[in-house]
C-alpha cells in the first residue's frame, strides 16, 4: 500500500495530477482509509497503463472508458482490442506524417546552410519552392489544394 505522495515520487507525477486522474475516474478500484487514498499494486498497473495510453495520444476520457471496460471483465475484451487496433493505425499514421515533416525540416536546414553561404535569400520568401528538391516539394504542396 502506497500513499499518493509515494506514488507521486515513484512516477514523477505531481500529486495534483494523480488526484485529477482519480477525480476523472481513472482508478475505478482505488481504495480509501478514512478519506486517504491507498494505492496498491493493481493501481500501480493502472497508472502504468494510463501513461502508456497517454503516450499513444489517447485523451483522458478515452482512457477512462478503457478503465471501465477493464473493470467489466472479459465481456469487453473485443472492445479493448478494437481500441488498440485503432490506436495502432493512428500512431502509425502519425509516425508517417512526422517522417514527412522531418524531411521538410532537413530541407530547411540545408536551405539555410546555403542561404548563409550565399547570402541571397528572398526576404519574404521563407519557403522558396523554386529551389526545392521535387520530392520535398511534393510533400510541401500536399498541404493545400491546387488553385486555378
Amino acid at each position: 500500500m502506497y500513499t499518493i505522495g509515494q506514488i507521486s515520487e515513484m512516477f514523477d507525477l505531481p500529486i495534483s495530477t494523480l488526484r485529477y486522474y482519480d477525480r476523472e475516474g481513472l482508478f475505478p478500484a482505488l481504495k480509501r482509509q478514512s478519506g486517504i487514498r491507498q494505492f496498491d499494486e493493481k493501481d500501480i498497473e493502472v497508472l502504468r497503463t494510463i501513461e502508456c495510453l497517454k503516450k499513444s495520444g489517447l485523451g483522458i476520457t478515452d482512457i477512462k472508458q478503457f478503465m471501465i471496460w477493464c473493470s467489466q471483465g472479459s465481456t469487453t475484451y473485443e472492445l479493448r482490442r478494437q481500441l488498440f487496433e485503432k490506436q495502432k493505425k493512428t500512431v502509425e499514421e502519425e509516425i508517417k506524417k512526422m517522417q514527412q515533416t522531418l524531411d521538410m525540416i532537413k530541407f530547411k536546414c540545408w536551405y539555410y546552410d546555403e542561404a548563409i553561404k550565399d547570402g541571397n535569400e528572398d526576404q519574404m520568401n521563407p519557403m522558396n519552392t523554386a529551389i526545392m528538391p521535387k520530392e520535398i516539394k511534393a510533400i510541401y504542396s500536399r498541404q493545400h489544394k491546387k488553385r486555378g
Copy 2:
C-alpha cells in the same frame, strides 16, 4: 490576390483560424483593401510555412518569431537555421518515442488476441507484465522508478 474565403478553401482551414493567425501577427506583410484582407503569393508561402512549422510541433508564438526573423532579412539566417536544427532534433526524438509506443500497442493487440482466445485475463490487471516479452517490458517499466 485572394480573399480570406478563397484561402480558407484552398488550405481547408476555417476563416476564423486565418483571422486568428493574422491577429497573432503571423502574416507580417498581409495587405488590406478598405479593411478586407488581400492574400497574395507571398502570404500563401507564409501560410504553407506556418502549416509546416505547426506540424513539427512549434507553437504560434515561435512561428511568429520566425516570421519576424524572415521579415528582417539576411541578418537572421543563423537564428532561423538554429531554429530548424533544434526542431530537427525534437522531431527525431518524438519519432523514436512514437516507435516505442507503437511497439507497446502492438503488444497490447497481441495480448487481447490471446485473451480473447483463452478468456482468462486477470480482471483488474490491464497490463500483465508477467507474460510480456522482455523488450516490451523494458519500455513499459522505463515509465516509473524502481521501488524498494
